[in-house]
Amino acid sequence: MATVTIQSLTYTYPKQSRPVLDHLSGTFPTGKFSLLTGVSGGGKSTLLKLIAGLLPNPDDTTVTFDGQPLNAITPTDRAKTVVMLFQEPSTQFTMDTVENELRFALENQQVPAGEIADRSDAALAFIGITDLKFRKLMQLSGGEQQKVALAIIVAMNSDVILLDEPFASIDPPTRLVLLEKLVALCNERGKTIVLADHDLSGYQQWVDHLAVLADGHLTLLSVDETRARFAAFTPQRLQLTHVQLPSDQLTVCLQGTALGLAHSNRQLIAPQSLSFYAHKTTLITGPNGSGKSTLFRALVRLGHYQGHIAYRDTDIKKIRKRRYARQVGLMFQAAAAQFLNVTVAEELALSQKYGNSTYFTPERVHALLDQLNLAGRDEQVLYSLSSGQQKKIQLLCMLIMAPEVLLLDEPLKGLDYASIQAVMAILKTVQHDLDLTLILISHQLSGLDALVDLHLQLEDHQLTYQEVRA
C-alpha cells in the first residue's frame, strides 16, 4: 500500500520553453482507483512516467510514496513500489513467451527460483489467462498482450499501478475484463491505481476519483465532485444528418469478395462481401481493436486477408505493386511512418514531384500551409514537430499525391479544434475539386457531418452501411 504524493513538480521537455507540468501538486490515495483525465498532449503520460521514475525527476522530493522520495528507493526495490502499463501493448516485453517474460520480471525482483513458477501461475490464474502461458508474446492480440502485462504486474506485486491509456487499441470485452481485475486489485489487495485516459466514457462505475490535469495543474475531485462531473459528461456522439445507404447508381471502386480478416487466430471480420464507392467519402466506425486499421492495411496490401479484393474489377494482387500504390494510398495512423525525408520542405517537395502538381501549384500549397498554421516551418526537422503538426504535414503530403482512393486512418488524432476545422475544410474542397474517393477511420466524431456521404459500421465482426438514425 502506498499513497502517492506530488509536490510542486515542474517539468519542461528538452528544447522547449514552456513547462508541460507547472508546479503541479496532488495526491493519489492508497487503495483507490483514480482516473487521470485531461486533453491529449496535456502531459498525462509525462506525469505518469515521472511518477514511475521512467523520466528522471527534476528534484529529489517532488514525488513520494508514503513519504518516501522516489529517488531514495533503491532501483531494485522500485518495481515493488511502482510499475507502469503502457499504451502500446507490444512494446512492453523483452522476452519471447509469456512464461519467460514472467520469469524475467520475477528474476529481476530476486524472487527465489523455487517460488517463481508458483507466483507466475497464480498471477495468470488471477487474470484468467492460464491458457496463454506458453504462447509467443508477439503472436498475441493487443488485448491479450495487455492482459499479460497486467498479469506480470500482479506477479510483481507492486503497490502502485500506473496505466497510460491502456485501452487505446483494446476491444470492449477485454476492456471490461481488465477493469474488473483492476478494481479487484484495488479492493482486495489495496493497490493504488492511476489510469490516464482523455475520454471519460465507460469509467463511471469503476473509478473512485477523477484527477483532472489542465494547464499543467492537477485537481483531485472528491467523490461527490467526481459523481457530478460524470453526470454532466455526455459522451461525444456521432451526428451524421445526410448519410444514405449506397444506391445502385454509385460506381464501385474497391470490391471485397468473401473478404475476412484475422489477427493471430482471432477473427476480426467474418468473410463478407464489401463494396467501397468511388468519388464518395466513407466513414468507418467501430470499437477499438475491432479491425478497422487491419482492414486498411489489407486494402493497401500490407497485411494478410482471406478472400479477394478487387480494384476496378482487377484483383489487387494482380496489379503491379508500384502502380497500385499510386491508385490507393494510405495515410498511416502514426504520422512518422509516412515521412521519408528530414525537413518539412523536402517532404512536401517529394509529394509535389510525383503528385498532382497541376492542382497543387506552389501557391496553393503555400496557401494550404497558411491555412493549417504551418507557414514558415520549411526548414524544420519533421521529427521535432509536435504530433499535431506532424499529422497536418502528413495529410498535406498525401493529398498532394492525390491517389484516386485515399484511406485516412485517424486523420484528426491529436488535433486541436482550430486544426480540425481547417483540415475538414481542406478535405472537403480537395475531395470536391479532384473528385477523390476518401475512406476514413475516426474516433474524433464532431465536425464530420459536412464531409461524410456514406457510413460503414463495424460491429460483431461485420461491416454494414448505415443510414441516418432517427
Binding site: K80, F86, E101, N108, V300, M401
Partner: protein
C-alpha cells in the same frame, strides 16, 4: 552441451582453421558438423541451403583464384573447404542452440553482464519487427512514387530511426519490469555446466590440435 562452452569451442576452432592450412582437418570438421546437424534433426531443406550458398561462393572464389594468380592446388582445396567449415559449424551452432538458453548461459556461466546478455536477446526478438518495418517503409515510399530498393540509404535511415525509437521503448519496458543494470538477479532456470561439458570441450580441442599437427606439410 553447455552453450557458452559450445560457443567458445566454435570460436577457437574457427580461429585456428583460419590460420593453419590443413585441408584434412577441414574435411573432418565438415563431416562432424554435418553428422551433428543430422543427429539433431536439422531439416533437409536447411541443409541444402547451407550447402548451396557456400558452394556458389566457394566455387566462385576458387575459380577466380585459378584464373588469376598462382595459388597451389593445396591452397585452393583449403580455401574451398574452409568456407564450408565456417558455414557448417555456424549452422550446427545456431540451429541447435536456443537464443534464450544461450543468453542465460552467458549470464550464469560466462558471467557476462546481464545488460549485454539481454540486449543481445532483445535484438534477436526484434527481427520480425524489423522485417515488418521495412515492408511498411517501402509501401509508404511507393505511395509517394519512390521505389526503395534494398540498397537505398533512405530505407536504412527510416529503419534505424525506428530502431532507435524501439531501443528507448525496450529500455523503458525492461526498467518497468524491474530490470536494473548490474543488480543481482535470481535465476528461474539454472544452466548446468557439467564435467562432461568440459571433457567434450577439451577432447575436441585436443583432437583438432593433433589433426593440425599431423596434417602440417
Amino acid at each position: 552441451m553447455n552453450p557458452s562452452l559450445k560457443l567458445t569451442l566454435l570460436i577457437l576452432i574457427a580461429l585456428e582453421v583460419s590460420f593453419i592450412q590443413v585441408w584434412s582437418v577441414n574435411v573432418a570438421l565438415i563431416v562432424v558438423s554435418l553428422l551433428l546437424m543430422l543427429f539433431n534433426h536439422v531439416s533437409w531443406r536447411r541443409l541444402l541451403w547451407l550447402t548451396l550458398v557456400p558452394l556458389f561462393f566457394a566455387s566462385a572464389l576458387v575459380w577466380s583464384l585459378m584464373l588469376r594468380g598462382d595459388a597451389s592446388t593445396h591452397f585452393l582445396i583449403v580455401i574451398f573447404t574452409r568456407m564450408f567449415v565456417y558455414v557448417y559449424m555456424g549452422g550446427w551452432f545456431t540451429l541447435t542452440t536456443k537464443p534464450l538458453w544461450l543468453t542465460r548461459s552467458l549470464e550464469q556461466n560466462a558471467k557476462l553482464p546481464s545488460k549485454f546478455a539481454y540486449g543481445f536477446l532483445a535484438a534477436f526478438n526484434l527481427m520480425p519487427k524489423i522485417q515488418a518495418e521495412v515492408a511498411t517503409v517501402r509501401a509508404a515510399a511507393l505511395m509517394r512514387g519512390e521505389v526503395l530498393h534494398v540498397w537505398s540509404p533512405r530505407l536504412y535511415f527510416k529503419v534505424i530511426l525506428a530502431a532507435m525509437n524501439w531501443s528507448d521503448q525496450l529500455a523503458a519496458a525492461m526498467t518497468s519490469h524491474g530490470f536494473v543494470e548490474g543488480a543481482p538477479r535470481t535465476h528461474a532456470l539454472t544452466v548446468p555446466l557439467l564435467a562432461r561439458d568440459w571433457w567434450i570441450f577439451g577432447i575436441s580441442l585436443l583432437l583438432v590440435q593433433v589433426g593440425l599437427f599431423v596434417g602440417l606439410p
